[in-house]
Symmetry: C2
Amino acid sequence: MDKAVYEAIRRAMLMGRLLPGTKLGEPALARVLKVSRERVRKALHRLVHEGWLEAVPNRGTFVPALTIGEVREIYDVRTMLETAIVGRLCTGYGPPAAQRLKAHINEERLAVRNDDRGRLFGLSGEFHVLLAELCGNEQLSKLLRGLLTRSTMHFSLSAPERFHNCAGPHDHADIVKAILARDAKKAAKLMLDHLLGLVEWQSAWQPPPNPVRLEEAFRGIAAVRRPA
Amino acid sequence: MDKAVYEAIRRAMLMGRLLPGTKLGEPALARVLKVSRERVRKALHRLVHEGWLEAVPNRGTFVPALTIGEVREIYDVRTMLETAIVGRLCTGYGPPAAQRLKAHINEERLAVRNDDRGRLFGLSGEFHVLLAELCGNEQLSKLLRGLLTRSTMHFSLSAPERFHNCAGPHDHADIVKAILARDAKKAAKLMLDHLLGLVEWQSAWQPPPNPVRLEEAFRGIAAVRRPA
DNA sequence: TGGCAGTAGAATGTGCACATTATGGCCGTA
DNA sequence: TACGGCCATAATGTGCACATTCTACTGCCA
């Protein structure tokens, strides 16, 4: 199955092993992953199409360096969708929805108590997906899942070793509380502030100097040979 | 360039030449379009990934038969985004935005007056894209463009020969009027009603018996060989 | 006559070899 | 010494041939 190659590259990106600007050569990947070049090609093409990588014709595929502007745009779209989502959940949801929401919040609390950053990182993302799923709209869920992965990619690539506390657990609990109280206005406002906080928090991570950016800037100027 | 193959297939779908359930065989397409099978393969894979076609492993790729439920879901997502869009446009837009909106409405009026259904069909879609573009969010524009093509695909496939009047021009003019008056509430409401009307109008198109559906139903039963 | 196994054909999936293009080093010249 | 053109090398792009899988027809058997 060629999905394995796709997943391997994606995982490497989420783990921050591939810095922005890195070139993903087909022969090198095929050698490392021990698969044929065609498999690698297909996986790369798919990743490019999904926005994970950038392809330059006759040059290769590269790990993109998302600008703060693009991240803001993605969060802006998320805001539009997710404020609408919580609003809709306030107008009507089934009993299992309430139960799932409470269960999720409890899991996040548990992760915080155990200081399990990795688990909390995963749960924070899943919370937003959960809200979409509770709307019962498959298209919406898929779309939001894509936006979420893309919005976190920037973070994963730039500062992966430190999982974000996201200011999340508390925000999430408040949002759930508002939904259960069927307070649409408040829920939407809380979601808006939550996402605004996230994007601001991520923006603060841009300033630290990115080594790859320097390498790109000096390519063809200084007499340094790139390591890869 | 392989984009030509991609565009050719897409155009055929939009023109309604490919009915739902039709199989797009690689050798047949390569023969018809006079390109190598690899080009066809790449184009098909891309179309599948974008949701235009459906692929069954070791079976081939087929023109999908979107259910009413899926169409409703897509319109639901569009409602979330587009009500937010008009709301945002009401809070702030530049002078060129107002000018472009007015110009578009005028073009639609002109198309109606000339009874140019084809042009009106295109303009009706472009109106929604225009609103997204005026927000200045590239991600949003791309996303909405995809949703729009997918939501109209169902229509194109099931009833392509009759371009929809969409109850559009009038609705669009009202929406623009509300935006220019900076009446966010009204604009959002009008957009909501507009999209609700569109999806209801499209739903009404499902009942008429689909010839391909019959062909599929009799496949393997009657002694008819499929034309392709 | 109805059902089923076997088989021939075609279509999809996969890997390989070649063509094309970009990159980096080398050399000649101003 | 610096600049510009040339060439070797490696990577990407493309087409082809083979392997695998599914479909459909045929013939056999109950």
